[in-house]
Amino acid sequence: MSFAANFPLFCIVLALLCAVVSGVLRWRAAAILTEVMAAAVAVMSAFVLALALRTGQSTSYPMGHFPHPWGNELRFGILEPLVSGVFSLVLLCCVVGGRKALNRDTEPEKRNLYFSMVDLIQASLLALVYTNDLFTGYVFIEICTIAACGILMIRQLGRTTLASVRYMIFSLLGSGLFILGIVYLYSITGHLLMPELKQSVGELWQSGQYRTPLRTAIALITLGLCIKSGLFPFHFWMPDTYGYSTPCSAGILSGLVSKGYIFLLIKIIFDVFGTEVFYASGMQTVLYVFGVAGMVFGSISAMRENDIFRMIAYSSAAQIGYIYMGIGLSPRLGIVAALFHTLTHALTKPALFLSASRLSEVSGGSKRFKDLQGSAHKNHAAGAAFAVGSLSMIGLPLTMGFIAKYLFALAAFREERFLIPTLLALAISTVLNTFYFARTLIRVYNTRDLGAVKPVGLGSQKRFAAAGALLAGLNIFFGVIAQPLIDLLTRGVALLAG
């Protein structure tokens, strides 16, 4: 076994260790530790990706001396290191770019615990991405849920406390349904490791035995992860959660945490249920319908907001809808499109939240549109990052958002019955997205009544500029040169399907 095959284990243990050690460090040291850890994880993921590309197959990594079905296991093909690498880069950007707002929003005595929580989120995302064991997935969902509440409520405003109560209720409901689903699945198969589960589920579906419990398990697990990632109509926790937390947390929660659950769901669809069983069970249509509804209603809610953070948060509901529509569309091309959009959204949303916080900062701390007038002229870097993010969310060419929408449309052409509704939903949603993002862009770049302004220079916001440039740069890079990424995703999905 190549030494790089150990890196997923090292990444997870490194993140856990950093989390624990951050508990006793001063916050500055804890922050540096988190940044170094995220960068190290990104580098190690690149090595694992290189290994997977060289061998061209997925590798099982037993956690201990006992192989499956007895012991825990990790498994990685091409998708897992790719996704975890992008996730840790985004995490790094959030922590680096959101530092100033974090210092404003939190008390210094507790700030080291914030970084501890961020490390735990990193560890649990890695575990969710790499795991080959359903129950391990649940354990790290728990960590992710609690840590997400932690980074949310560290900004102790009345609204954030309310938002975290709300988020916790929804999130625990999701975890509860997920674990119930595992219980049903275990009672009828006797396994928790994914390879054995897939085999047993396939056999049970063929024989028709335990049909009701099996359907229930599929529905519960899917529903649980949908609630946790905020699919319509379970997206009502989003505006408060993302709108009132500190921008770094908003970026991590919207860009990464919900994506971790979605990736786990995709992995479960391929490696536990098997695509045939999943798409025969009828859950596909459910996901598709709610995804399309989310695309439209999320955007309508976003249009009605006059608070920039809440608008971006509602737009997340719409983007999650896109992803679920892709999962519902078709097992291969649809999922490739969904994965591409997952990465798009993970790169775009944190940039939007970080830059929106800078724009509101130069507008006297207000988040209302009317106060944001001309703010992009007061902070050029934030304006540019916001513009790239908005254009990507609208889906203009040369950004990742365009490629994602193109892939969705392409997938729809292969599925006769979903063609018309998909194209219609894409068109309506794009028009709505354009409406509210273009409105915001025009507002922040409007110079009327602006007078003479002294823009904030790059020198005083180096960290934000670096993070914003990386996020926006990656967005444009993969928007221009998308084919290699699409090829990687296609090969990855093929490997995942086995």
Binding site: N6, L9, P69, E109, K110, L120, L157, L180, H191, A217
Partner: protein
């Protein structure tokens, strides 16, 4: 006007969700919860609900209840089809269980099969579980830790406790026994029922009893915020590193330096005993820590 607690804000926000969100002082930081708040002194809550909202609020609990009942019905229907509890031909009785029960003691060195499964076969899950506890502790600290103004215990309650001879004398007799039993359960985890989680909970309850009867000041000499953090870091750090080493060896086909030993001896079962001790300390201290933080805002 008196300072409002978070719960009053919650109540007011909840009752006026549809019309008043912008007018409420929710953008102010929440400082601390005052236990003796006079509710009548609060300004009256304006009621601006109109017809549709009121109907929605009335119907909401009924609809939620109905939805829950339908869900319960579906879940029960699925349970009816599951294999009966304890039946011999249930799918859970397969090669996995056969190996755990049949070869567990031989392979892990633990007489207690449960300890063998959670700390050796499926140790990665348990590594996660012990960090769940750490996550929860950190989240509670973020929520409740009041570093700037330390809250003292409400005077009245403490006076009653200090004057209560029954409590003090019972605690004097019971605390050593509880702690001893807790340590026994931790150390005996690989030989019989018990282990770090169960024993840690017992130790934690002993510490809490001690704190109730004799006050936090005495316990502080043994366990304060600093030592609590140190214990947590040492135990969880040791846990992660030891298991990382063992996973690494297992995956690469190397022998570990920890041997299973003779099953039944106190020093056997390789890593299981030290891991139980680490988990026990973490659980015990965290239980006590939760109590202390909820009671007075710090450990």
């Amino acid at each position: 006007m008196k300072k409002q607690t978070i719960f009053d804000r919650l109540r007011r926000w909840d009752e006026s969700e549809f019309d008043l969100t912008d007018a409420l002082p929710l953008e102010e930081p929440v400082r601390r919860i005052e236990p003796d708040l006079d509710r009548d002194a609060l300004p009256p809550i304006p009621r601006l609900e109109h017809g549709g909202v009121r109907t929605f609020r009335r119907l909401y609990p009924w609809m939620a209840g109905l939805l829950a009942l339908v869900l319960v019905g579906f879940l029960l229907l699925a349970v009816l089809e599951l294999p009966a509890f304890g039946s011999a031909d249930a799918p859970a009785h397969n090669e996995v269980m056969a190996r755990y029960v049949g070869q567990g003691t031989e392979e892990t060195g633990a007489v207690n099969t449960v300890a063998g499964v959670i700390l050796d076969y499926r140790a990665f899950d348990t590594l996660g579980e012990s960090h769940v506890l750490f996550t929860a502790a950190a989240a509670v600290l973020i929520l409740l830790l009041t570093a700037t103004h330390v809250q003292e215990e409400p005077r009245r309650i403490r006076d009653i406790m200090e004057r209560d001879p029954i409590l003090r004398n019972t605690a004097k007799v019971l605390t050593p026994v509880i702690l001893l039993f807790g340590f026994y359960v931790i150390l005996n985890g690989h030989l019989g029922p018990g282990g770090g989680f169960a024993g840690g909970a017992i130790v934690g309850s002993g510490l809490i009893l001690c704190a109730i009867a004799f006050g936090f000041e005495r316990l502080e000499r043994l366990l304060n915020y600093k030592s609590y953090c140190r214990i947590l870091v040492c135990c969880l750090g040791f846990y992660s590193l030891a298991k990382c080493y063992s996973f690494y060896c297992g995956a690469n086909g190397l022998e570990t330096i920890f041997s299973a030993g003779t099953p039944g001896r106190i020093l056997s079962a390789g890593l299981i005993l030290p891991l139980n001790v680490a988990v026990g300390l973490v659980v015990g201290c965290t239980m006590y820590g939760f109590y202390a933080v909820f009671q007075r805002g710090r450990i």
